[in-house]
């Protein structure tokens, strides 16, 4: 029995179990339903508006943008919050005290994030299919772009979630330091409102972050070509999309193992206890 392969299998099982626990947990269900309900409501309100300069429904543009946002919340935010919370409650130390437990733990993080993202995809695509007829015009080329953006987007965001989750001191900070910046990134990324309608000085800022490129990549896969006119430069800019997401992925994947290793080395019973005391006295 190869211990490494064995650990990866256990990690997949672990990630799946955590996902199962999440979707059967009442407070998680409330969160999933309400947050996605809001997004679906946004799309329904946008049905009659059109993308500036075209006669394409604004809701149709929001759908792929939401798919892009779903990648960053699932990849970055979930990983950061889960990792910081599980450092605090001792799950990570448990993994460390189990043979090959850290490998399985990291695999579980990837699996759980992927499953969360998949869940978002199923929800949004179902709405797209039934209410917006969004998927009619998509050919095999469009689908392969969608999958490529999805996979690259996961690679570009998940390591950063791991980095943030490793560096923060508490689970509150883990949530705050991922939720707030990501909300800000989303706000300026053209997901809920076309970026061409935002002030010009925000354009370069938005284009630094992966959220914008995830949204653009998804839109390029799902929208008719003439919708590109509403984008910066009037083009889908595939080269830039894959280049920027690739850059985030390369830097994140290069940094994450080092940060994770350093964080894991420091985990000990007294470190967990100290954070617990800190969390208790914080309230």
């Amino acid at each position: 029995m190869n211990p490494m392969l064995h650990a990866i299998r256990l990690g997949v099982f672990r990630g799946w179990t955590e996902f199962r626990q999440s979707i059967t947990n009442r407070s998680d269900q409330v969160w999933i339903v309400s947050i996605n309900g809001i997004f679906i409501a946004v799309m329904l309100f946008q049905r009659d508006a059109t993308i500036p300069g075209t006669d394409i429904s604004l809701a149709l543009a929001t759908l792929p943008s939401l798919l892009g946002m779903n990648v960053i919340t699932g990849g970055w935010m979930t990983t950061a919050t889960v990792l910081s919370a599980e450092r605090e409650d001792g799950t990570l130390l448990r993994a460390k005290s189990t043979p090959n437990g850290m490998i399985a733990y990291l695999v579980a993080r990837i699996v759980l994030s992927s499953l969360n993202i998949a869940l978002g995809f199923v929800i949004f695509l179902t709405v797209g299919l039934t209410v917006l007829n969004a998927l009619d015009g998509m050919g095999p080329g469009d689908w392969s772009i969608l999958v490529a953006v999805l996979v690259l987007g996961l690679l570009a965001t998940l390591p950063w979630g791991a980095i943030v989750g490793s560096l923060v001191k508490s689970s509150n900070a883990g949530f705050g330091l991922s939720f707030l910046p990501i909300s800000a990134m989303i706000a300026i990324s053209g997901i809920f409102y076309p970026i061409s309608g935002l002030p010009g000085w925000l354009h370069p800022v938005a284009q630094v972050f992966p959220v914008y490129w995830l949204g653009l990549g998804m839109r390029s896969a799902m929208l008719p070509d003439e919708a590109a006119l509403a984008e910066i430069g009037g083009s889908w800019r595939h080269l830039e999309t894959f280049g920027m997401l690739g850059l985030w992925a390369v830097v994140g994947l290069a940094l994450a193992p080092r940060v994770l290793r350093r964080m894991a080395q420091r985990e000990s019973g007294s470190a967990v206890e100290e954070r617990r005391q800190h969390a208790i006295s914080g309230y």
Binding site: M1, N2, P3, H6, A7, L10, F13, R14, T17, E18, Q21, N25, E86, D89, G90, T91, L93, R94, K96, S97, T98, P99, N100, G101, A104, E267, S268, G269, S270, V272, E273, R276
Partner: protein, 323 residues
């Protein structure tokens, strides 16, 4: 008991001829704060060792270094023949860890988690030590049979600790670390836990190192007691040996003509012989009691905290070796 360079190489391969734990001149400081200053002790395979000491004496630090969770500042440490700072996963598979305050995996169910965590040990199963323990037997063993399908978040404090012990032993460790395992236990849970420890030590041959604040528990469980105070081991021996060494006095109580008497003597047997020679049948209610572990402990710790560090260090060294 010399530590040779060769010990570290064959990680976890049969090294049953070596001691389970060997610590020599272990030093640890955080910045300029000294926590451990020359700690040395050895645990033989199958031995149950209790580490006592006031809060902040460095018990947890010592255990964390042995567990491989913390890097030491200086000194020689071998755990199952391996330097814990460089222990690999095979080494890790032979060690069980129970910490003070786990709160992890609250959404899992008891048996489900034991089954899952046990599977990590499968690649390290050997013909003479099958790993892991069966999760159904394990829940029975720690008295969680009725809670097997409950969510962990719904367990009481004592049940949660028993689950932590179960997780600590699911891989059938050769060496088990328990950091204050019975804090918050009611007397019955404590008794059941002691049975589990005895069973592990007797049937499985597990070496156990535990910390506790409960001196009664230390006396019941431990083959040997180590007392950590003033950054070093100040006493090392069985409860009997410690009390003999520290006070050298035995307490004798008796009554004569309805009056009660108490006397402390170094030679209790001689004193009692004299007592009977003098008063014969008038003596009643005779009790001869060696100093309790609590008295011994208090005496030792007070001696160190009041800052007389060097005098008893020599005495401490003779405990282990003398008997």
């Amino acid at each position: 008991m010399t530590v040779t360079g060769a010990l570290g190489r064959s990680q976890g391969v049969d090294s049953s001829d070596t001691a389970a734990i060997e610590v020599r001149d272990l030093r640890m400081s955080y910045g300029s704060v000294k926590v451990l200053d020359g700690v040395s002790f050895t645990a033989q395979r199958g031995e149950v060792l209790t580490l006592l000491g006031p809060n902040g004496a460095g018990k947890s630090t010592t255990i964390e270094i042995l567990e491989g969770f913390r890097r030491r500042s200086a000194g020689e440490v071998r755990v199952l023949g391996v330097d814990p700072a460089h222990g690999n996963e095979q080494w890790r598979a032979q060690i069980g860890v129970v910490l003070q305050s786990w709160r992890d995996h609250s959404r899992w169910r008891v048996r489900e988690l034991l089954d899952h965590l046990g599977r990590y040990y499968l690649p390290y199963s050997t013909p003479d030590r099958q790993r892991p323990l069966d999760p159904d037997e394990l829940v029975q063993m720690v008295g969680l049979g009725d809670q097997a399908t409950q969510r962990i978040s719904s367990l009481s404090g004592g049940q949660r600790r028993r689950l932590d012990v179960a997780i600590g032993i699911v891989g059938r460790p050769e060496l088990l670390f328990l950091d204050e395992p019975t804090a918050g236990f009611d007397p019955q849970a404590r008794r059941e836990f002691h049975d589990v420890v005895h069973r592990l030590a007797d049937l499985e041959g597990t070496t156990i190192l535990l910390t506790t604040h409960d001196l009664d528990e230390a006396e019941k469980l431990a083959d040997r007691i180590l007392i950590l105070a003033g950054h070093r081991i100040v006493a090392d021996g069985s409860a009997d040996q410690l009390s003999r060494q520290v006070s050298g006095q035995t307490e004798i109580r008796w009554s004569r003509n309805g009056e009660r008497y108490v006397h402390s003597a170094a030679d209790a047997t001689g004193f009692v012989r004299q007592l009977f020679a003098q008063h014969g049948e008038e003596i009643a209610d005779l009790e001869v009691q060696r100093t309790t572990l609590e008295d011994t402990y208090m005496a030792l710790v007070q001696r160190y905290e009041s800052g007389v560090p060097d005098q008893p260090a020599g005495a401490a060294a003779t405990f282990g070796g003398a008997r």
